[in-house]
Symmetry: C2
Subunit: 145 residues, 2 copies
Amino acid sequence: METTIERATKIVKQGGFKLTKQRKSLLELLAENYQRYIDLTDLDGKMRELYPKMSYTTVYRNIREFSNLGLVEEQQHDGKTEVKFQCDDLHQHHHHFICNRCGKVQELEMCPLNFFEEQIPGSTITGHQFELYGLCAECTMKATN
Amino acid sequence: METTIERATKIVKQGGFKLTKQRKSLLELLAENYQRYIDLTDLDGKMRELYPKMSYTTVYRNIREFSNLGLVEEQQHDGKTEVKFQCDDLHQHHHHFICNRCGKVQELEMCPLNFFEEQIPGSTITGHQFELYGLCAECTMKATN
DNA sequence: ATCAATGCAAACCTTTTGCACGCGT
DNA sequence: ACGCGTGCAAAAGGTTTGCATTGAT
């Protein structure tokens, strides 16, 4: 069975990009946080904590590239740019429930769009944004202790 | 009948703030764009186009204040800060359909939250974000000409 | 060997802050 | 007259760009 990193590196190469140390490290760090969004500046900081020689320019540039390749998802939350590794379910449409405490992301099975399509007669819906925030079951338990 | 600006100025005064020329002008510009979100930097630019002596510091500071007073709504879209005058329906919970072409905002009558509350057992939903984007009926008509 | 990717420094854009002056109350 | 609000300049924070050097293929 292929790992998510193997799949990702394949996509990077197929995109015509070279597999540098920096890109490998970035993919590793992203993969470690597989199921959560990470603040981009935190990712950048953590990256240069692990590899002090790496420049933040490289982090930003590559996240951009990965984003174009569909390997990471970007989102804005609380005015911050957040980033998440996206390797499987590549083309599936879904929304998220995001835990404010641990940052874990759960995919929702339902898309609320259907309920709204008939509400705005004559218009054309081309995009939508839907996210839930709160405490996941685990963190809810911890919080009530 | 009271105008939205009159209502807004009242709220500003009641908040303990002075009614300066700059604040009046800002409220006017916001009121002109009553039903749409405006990019904050655009608003800033337009403001100093109309009143070249006004400093952008003042725009940002007052938008902040207005936001705290509930007079403007802020939102992030495409990585930009957008701002909308909010005078009536002050405390009503609602979501938006936002036209990508003319920027007009329509309020939706339904909140999709209800459909999702039972989907994540054990967790606590504390916030959600939901916006639709597209072309409003008017712009859809224009687009198909 | 080639050309893309990196690191560095500097620019950039949006937003915030400190401070002396001016204006609304 | 008092003190908040303004303008200015400068800083801050995140992100992008230009360019010479390094490194993957």
